[in-house]
């Protein structure tokens, strides 16, 4: 069996691992690195639960092989903030009830974090567009939209 020595930066930390070609990036993060914040829902790109930042841009970790992440930088939900010190986007989701079961939340948080960097002052349509690729079966999205608005305010106040 072919294997590769891979070096991947995840949440600022460099990891060296041996991977076989068919290992998905999502499974690499969860099984090899123990970063189970990245959730796996559908494995065909629809649900968005597995979204991470790949070189700063949101991407589906279920639609990439770990072998392709060599020398790339990944940020997962664990890299956004800590339990003691939540990222402003996480804090906003907490305050605005932007989650219920939380299954969709990691993918939404990573997606929204990148979105607000590009577009710090979005209107409601832009917000709904930005999270259009993230399915949530609990909230009905209203509180998620509220949370993104609140997150934008928090981030702007920070600057």
């Amino acid at each position: 069996m072919q294997t590769f020595q891979r070096s991947v930066t995840v949440n600022g930390e460099r990891f060296e691992r041996t991977v076989e070609p068919r290992l998905l990036l999502s499974d690499f993060l969860r099984h090899e690195l123990g970063l189970t914040g990245t959730h796996v829902g559908c494995e065909h790109g629809i649900c968005g639960a597995c979204s991470v930042l790949f070189d700063g841009q949101p991407a589906r970790s279920c639609l990439m092989f770990a072998a392709q992440a060599h020398e790339h930088e990944i940020v997962t939900v664990e890299g956004l903030g800590t339990i003691e010190n939540l990222h402003p986007v996480q804090q906003a989701f907490r305050e605005a009830h932007g989650l219920q079961c939380g299954f969709c939340t990691p993918g939404i948080l990573t997606t929204v974090t990148a979105f607000l960097e590009r577009n710090p002052n979005p209107d409601e349509n832009e917000i709904r567009e930005a999270i259009s690729g993230n399915l949530c079966r609990c909230t009905g999205y209203q509180h998620i939209v509220d949370a993104v608005k609140l997150a934008a305010k928090k981030l702007q106040a920070q600057e």
Partner: protein
Amino acid sequence: MKPAPFEYYAPATMDEALALLAEHGYEAKALAGGQSLIPMMNFRLVQPSVLVDLNNIGGLAHITPGADGSLRIGALTRHNQVETSAVAEQYAPLIHFAMQKIAYPAVRTRGTFGGSLAHADPSAELPALCTALNGRFRLVSGRGERWVSADEFFISLFTTALEPDELLAEAEIPAMPPRSGWSLMETARRPHDFALMGVAAVVALDEQGRCADARIVFLSAGEKPMSAQKAAEALRGQSPSAEAIRAAAESAAANEIDPADDIHGTAKFRRHLANVLCRRALEQAFQRAAGKK
């Protein structure tokens, strides 16, 4: 770990990639953005034994205007690169406009122009748009290169003129003549989903305001991009009146598409959508051609 095992190669040059494809033939698949191939591998709908990853090959991602007003788009150009390109907006406004309809932001950061064409999903936007715009594609292999028109490239469901040892290197979209207009109309259950029905119209007017040329191409309407040539031909030389447009849309939807009957929608419903969308698309395209936005 769901895909079946395979050997993985990530060559740094086109020549190496082509040599690998020539060596492995039908066993091998190119990997571009992975946004169509990896879902199919995860479900084991396809089990290639060799993957040739194109992502480390330089020079395949570019958006290059030509002196004649045409635009070349490299195979590995990501959807979001086209979406945010002012050059694409200027030279190929229809393609630029369509980008926001293709999948979701996190898919557009990976999915590629060439991958969408090579995949040849009849529900995808780019195959239909390149057909409507008279685009052509540069295919390369160890044997040489050839240009193939979009009309000839798309053969059937997920089937193109690409030979197993060939790669699509770039697409060329010709300049639209003066007094041209375009439109893309779609109906999807949710924005960004594959459309239940869609249609692109590209038209040009002569100096008297009559239709000089029209191209009408449907997506999600058959086994490949469905070009309504008879309806388009009937418009030529006519003034684009409401009646002429209505007649073209009706005959295209009735005679020149072959929509599926499935859980997402009946064939009858899809034909109805085709008629309405085609009428609206032609109206908008002719308005744009006449300089009315």
